[in-house]
């Protein structure tokens, strides 16, 4: 953090309106509240289910190399064309080439919500190439027409209220002005139907790839994901290389943990398990299915101290429960991955030099770890990221800790310091302005412990 400048998340937070905080808090709170009752119905032992999921994901990370090779082989047997991309640029170029092979420039591409494609900024690239790219998830569609970015993994427009959506839809001519969520959803449905009919290519992410069967698993509630991967003749799926599960038998555990943790649902409406392109005797489905396996920093993370963050199944429960996320919304983190997950994943992928201070945007309250379906030790990794940033000198500490430690490593110096404490009100302290901007300074309350202790013996 450059001297005199506020940390990035705090600086952003100061521009966040009360209206935004209100929207984010309300939605986060309701999702958090429905999470536990749902998981308790799904599992006799929620704790045990989380432990098991964490162990399976650890097994995946331990054996990622052989599982990816297995996945590739099974996918090929299923007729899915497998491609690898080392970074965002490589992925964008590869996908653009696949699009050019599938449909002439100018064609419509329908997109199902995908964080991996957000991560590589795919839309901008394909639009530049001359394609019409249409986001079809209701929230993502709003994001696209507003030239905004998603502020949550699962509910991208958590920072907007219905009045704002209504204004955007009426501006785009989707129908008469209405603030009824039902009417707004109906307008989106009508408008996007034509896009689905004309689209030549559908692009999606995936939630799980099954190594044993070569099957791609996508979960969603709206149906746009299924439409995007069924109606167009070409389907391109993009996955972060860690999104593997060993076998289909693992799905009931993970699907229930994901649905319960993400939205408090017992099961997501559609679980689409894709086993390849349409077969000769089937009436519809894409004739070409491509899978793009994306590295983009993941191999580096796998070999470093933040490896466990790759257990993540993108449920967003840590965002929903986080006091900081609820206050500032996802945009404050300055990266597609936000909240506690993002505060670890973003600097882990891009290097702590690029994002030195997001790990500081946490009170370390630990609620993220408490809700995580795969038990990622997020607070521990936030501490490690802070340590790495300070050690590498990319994060300037506002407080000279060596001074503090000088006092804290001698009983005499410490006691002398305590005696001087009442005078500190006059003194300059690096934390003082940060404290007093919103709070009154603390005062010594009641008796002094040491005097009392000495007096009784």
């Amino acid at each position: 953090m450059p001297k005199g400048k506020k940390p990035s998340v705090e600086a952003f937070a100061r521009g966040v309106t009360a209206e935004t905080t209100k929207s984010v808090r309300a939605a986060s709170k309701s999702k958090t509240e429905s999470r536990i009752p749902t998981l308790e119905i799904a599992f006799h032992d929620v704790e045990g289910a989380r432990t098991q999921a964490a162990q399976i994901k650890e097994f995946v990370l331990d054996n990622i190399s052989s599982l990816l090779v297995q996945l590739e082989a099974k996918c090929k047997m299923n007729g899915i064309q497998v491609h690898w991309a080392k970074d965002a640029e490589s992925a964008r170029n590869l996908i653009a080439r696949l699009c050019e092979e599938a449909a002439p420039v100018g064609s419509t591409i329908v997109k199902a919500k995908s964080m991996a494609t957000e991560e590589i900024h795919l839309n901008e690239h394909l639009i530049e190439k001359g394609y019409e790219v249409v986001e079809t998830d209701l929230g993502e569609y709003v994001i696209q027409i507003d030239h905004d970015t998603p502020s949550h993994l699962v509910t991208p427009i958590i920072h907007k209220n219905k009045r704002q959506v209504a204004e955007s839809f009426s501006r785009e001519g989707l129908g008469p002005y209405t603030e009824s969520p039902e009417e707004l959803a109906a307008q989106a449905r009508r408008h996007l139907r034509d896009r689905f009919k004309e689209a030549k290519i559908g692009i999606s992410g995936i939630n799980f790839a099954i190594a044993q069967s070569g099957r791609l698993v996508l979960v969603e509630n709206e149906g746009n994901n299924r439409l995007s991967t069924t109606a167009p003749d070409t389907h391109i799926a993009v996955m972060g290389l860690e999104k593997i599960l060993p076998s289909e038998g693992d799905l009931p555990l993970f699907l229930r943990l994901l649905a319960g943790s993400a939205t408090g649902q017992r099961m997501t409406v559609y679980v689409h398990m894709i086993s390849g392109p349409r077969r000769k005797d089937e009436n519809d489905g894409p004739s070409n299915v491509h899978l793009v396996i994306l590295d983009n920093g993941r191999t580096k993370v796998l070999n470093g101290p933040y490896r466990e963050i790759l257990r993540c199944i993108r449920c967003g429960a840590c965002l929903n429960v986080c006091p900081v996320y609820r206050q500032v919304s996802g945009h404050a983190y300055g990266h597609v991955y936000s909240g506690p997950l993002g505060a670890v994943l973003a600097p882990a992928l891009e290097g702590v030099e690029q994002l030195p201070d997001v790990a500081k945007a946490s009170t370390l309250c630990g609620s993220c770890e408490e809700v995580c379906p795969v038990k990622i030790p997020i607070p521990r990794m936030l501490l490690q990221l802070r340590e790495e940033a300070v050690r590498k000198g990319v994060l300037k500490e506002p407080i000279p800790w060596s001074m503090f430690v000088f006092g804290a490593t001698s009983g005499l110096r410490w006691r002398t310091g305590l005696k001087l404490l009442p005078m500190s009100k006059m003194a300059q302290h690096p934390m003082k302005n940060g404290w007093t901007e919103f709070r009154d300074l603390p005062e010594k309350q009641g008796r002094d412990f040491r005097k009392w202790w000495n007096g009784r013996s």
Partner: protein
């Protein structure tokens, strides 16, 4: 170096531990009728409903499309409206899952995926013996073709967390055990 070889060379080469076993909760034994009762409760919670053959006939008065298996069951001709215009899509399901109110539909010979997706109402005919208690049980019996598990009507809560049904897929789902 090709991206594939580069990525594979960068991945950690850890020794292969044996995979952790999955907990297998004991399966309670229930009759098909009990399972259908449970299924009906779960489906209703989601905003879907169980119907009868008579209900199905009423629904079929609307512009619809029938896949060939459901047409066979109902003794009707398959087809109907063009897929993007039909109000009602009629299919069978391969399995019903009691614990979640879910339906498993695989693709297959002459099956059309979009019938269960494009219309505003999905009418699902399920032979009564095709019900299982748990998702875990259903997943041991999956077809190797592309398969969808459907749990209730299409929904979104993107706008202020308010639940809306039928945003892209069917907002109504009626399941008829036969």
């Amino acid at each position: 170096m090709e991206d594939r070889e580069l990525i594979l060379s960068l991945l950690p080469k850890a020794g292969r531990k044996s995979r952790p076993p999955l907990a297998q909760p004991p399966l309670p034994r229930h009759s098909a009728d009990e399972l259908w009762a449970e299924f009906g409760i779960r489906l209703a919670e989601l905003g879907g409903r169980i119907g009868t053959r008579e209900d199905a006939e009423v629904i079929l008065a609307r512009p619809h499309i029938l896949d060939h298996e459901s047409a066979e069951i109902l003794g009707l001709h398959s087809g109907g409206e063009p897929i993007w215009d039909a109000e009602v899509g009629v299919t069978t399901a391969d399995l019903a899952i009691a614990e979640t109110g879910s339906l498993i539909l695989a693709t297959g010979p002459h099956r059309t995926r979009l019938v269960s997706l494009c219309p505003v109402l999905h009418l699902v005919l399920v032979p009564k013996d095709r019900i299982v208690a748990t998702m875990a049980e259903a997943f041991t019996r999956l077809s190797d073709r592309t398969t969808v598990m459907i749990t209730g009507p299409s929904r979104t809560a993107d706008i202020e967390g308010i639940l809306v049904r039928g945003v892209h897929g069917p907002g109504d789902i009626v399941v008829v055990p036969l």
